[in-house]
Amino acid sequence: MTGVTIFVGILIIISAIFAVEAKKMLDSFIALSLMSLLTVFLFVIMKAPDVAITEAAVGAGLATAVLVLALNKMGGDSQ
């Protein structure tokens, strides 16, 4: 299990770095969503199903939706 944990962890860090450094906002949000999804996986490995399901619904789903809606209101990725 440790191998999987490390692999997921590295993926999380990579997607976080991508979310921070991405040039386009939408890419950044997608990377953030990906990070959340991978975190869900990590939570499942660590035997926290309650947290995992909440993170999946809230962190990966709704948070991204909120960000994208806000971005849409500013006229997309133009800036």
Partner: protein
Amino acid sequence: MVYYIAFILIGVGIYGFLTQKNLFKHLVSLTIVDTAVNIFIISLGYIEGKEAPIYSKYTPIANFVDPLPQALVLTAIVIGVGTLALGASLLIKVYEKYGTLDVEQIATKEAEE
């Protein structure tokens, strides 16, 4: 192990906050820091070989990881999304007022006023 992941993620979040000029990225960094803290807290409750803290057919008697950190993280996640939504709506207003989300451009516009 997971500790290191959480610490590096906190670092990535703070780094993004310090270097990025787009305000949206600040919000993204904040979310990353929140997630990192959540991972850290959950990892502090994990015990190898034990099960998820739910009494069920498969675990009829207690053989559980620490449930309290999980309860705390549940709270923290919801607080995080509340802050995120409020931040996003503030950003819409920032964009409406200044026409940009770049920190430096906003600073020059502020100075002009």
